[in-house]
C-alpha cells in the first residue's frame, strides 16, 4: 500500500497513546498506524514522552520476595494471546473486531452494505461497503466521525480519500461521500452515536439498520 496522504490529527494520536480515546476510535487509529509510517512515528514519539514520565516517577517499594517470585516465573509457560494478523485489506486491529472472519454484510439498499463491529456507550464502529459511483446517503452525525478507507476510494467536499487515508468529520458536517471508480469502496468508521440522516427515507430506515 502506498503511504497515506490524510492522517490522524495529533490530538487523537495523543488521546490514543494516553489511553483516553474510546474503543471505536482507537480501532481506527490503530488500523491507520498499521499502514502509516508517519503516524507510527508520531505515536512512538508520544510513547517516548510516556517513557520519560515513567522514568521520573518516584519508585514505590515492592513487597518482599516479589522480585524472586517474578524471576522464578521467567521460564514458566505464559498463555500468549495471539494478536490477530492483518488479512487482505484488513489491518490486524480490524481483524480483531471481525474475530478473524470475513465481514458479514447487511444490505442497506442501493448496493450499500454495512456491518456494525462494535457498539458501546462511547462510540459505534462499523464497516461500510459502497459500490463504485454510489453515494452514501447524506447524513450528519452526533459527535466526531472518524473514517479510514480500506479499499477503493471516495470523494467528498474535503477531497479524495484512498486506501489508508483517514478523514475526521465534525458533528456539523453534512457530507456526501461518493465512491470512486474501480473497486467498491470499503471503509471502517467510528461515530459517537447512531448517524442521523438528512434525507427522509434513510431516516426511516435508521432504527432498522442502526446506521
Amino acid at each position: 500500500m502506498n503511504q497515506p496522504s490524510h492522517h490522524i490529527p495529533e490530538e487523537l494520536i495523543q488521546a490514543y497513546v494516553c489511553g483516553m480515546l474510546p474503543h471505536a476510535y482507537s480501532v481506527v487509529v490503530a488500523a491507520h498506524i498499521s499502514v502509516c509510517d508517519e503516524c507510527r512515528t508520531r505515536m512512538e514519539t508520544l510513547e517516548a514522552v510516556g517513557g520519560a514520565a515513567v522514568d521520573t516517577l518516584a519508585p514505590i517499594a515492592l513487597s518482599d520476595s516479589f522480585k524472586d517470585r517474578v524471576m522464578g516465573l521467567l521460564d514458566a509457560e505464559m498463555p500468549v494471546m495471539e494478536k490477530p494478523k492483518p488479512k487482505g485489506i484488513f489491518p490486524g486491529p480490524i481483524m480483531a473486531e471481525l474475530d478473524g472472519s470475513p465481514p458479514r454484510w447487511r444490505s442497506l439498499g442501493g448496493g450499500i452494505r454495512q456491518q456494525v463491529l462494535n457498539e458501546g456507550e462511547d462510540g459505534t464502529l462499523r464497516l461500510i461497503y459502497i459500490p463504485s459511483g454510489m453515494a452514501v446517503p447524506e447524513h450528519s452525525h452526533r459527535g466526531m466521525e472518524l473514517t479510514m478507507v480500506l479499499q477503493g476510494s471516495y470523494n467528498d467536499v474535503e477531497g479524495e480519500f484512498k486506501a489508508g487515508d483517514v478523514e475526521v468529520a465534525a458533528e456539523v458536517t453534512n457530507h456526501t461521500p461518493i465512491a470512486g471508480p474501480g473497486e467498491p469502496c470499503i471503509c471502517v468508521t467510528a461515530t459517537d452515536a447512531p448517524l442521523r440522516f438528512s434525507a427522509w427515507l434513510p431516516r426511516l430506515l435508521q432504527p432498522v439498520f442502526r446506521i
Binding site: 483516553m20 517516548a48 490486524g92
Partner: protein, 202 residues
Amino acid sequence: MVSRDPAVRQERMSSNSRLSDQVSAQTLWLIAVRDRRDRAAFARLFDHFAPRIKAMLMRSGLRDGASEDVVQDVMLTVWKKAAQFDPHRAEASAWIYRIARNRQIDLARREKRPVPDELAEPSEVQQDAGQIVALDQEARRLREALDRLTPDQTAIIEKAFLGELTHSEISRETGLPLGTIKSRIRLGLDRLRHELKDLRKE
C-alpha cells in the same frame, strides 16, 4: 530472540560493543535480554522499572496488591516479548511504557485495546548503531525538555500519560504543553522517518 544467522549475531555483538558507552543502561539491558536472554540484565531492568510501574498503576487508583499483580504481568511480558524490542525506534522506557499502558487499559476496559500491527521483527533487520545512539540522544534531550517544564505543565503531562484513563478528559487534556518538546525532537523524528522508509525497502 537470538538470531539464528551467525553472521548477523557476530555483526550484532561488535555493534553492541560500540553502543555500550553511548546508550542508556536500560536500553543496553533490554538488548542483552533480547539477544542473550540475560537474566542479570533483566534483574537490573526489574529494579529500575518495576517500582516505577507500580507507582504509575497506583496513581490510577489500583491498590498495592492489585498493582503488583499487574507489574508482574508487565515485567513477564517484557521478558517474553523482548524479541520485538527495536532500539532503532524506541528506547527501553518508551517500549516498556507501551506494554504497561496496554495492560492497564485492557484491565480498565471491557474490550481489549486495539494495537497497530508490528513492523518486521528487529532480528531480521541489520543493526545500525548510529541510529540507536541518535535515538537515545533525542530521548535524553526530551528528558531535559521535560525537566524545564513548569510544575503545572509537568502535572498535566503526568496526568495524561500516567494517570487515570477517563474519556471525559480528552477535550481538556489535548492542549498538552508539548510544543517545546516537539521542537526538541523534531530532528529525531525526521531521522526516524527516513529509517522507517529504508526498512520498508529491504
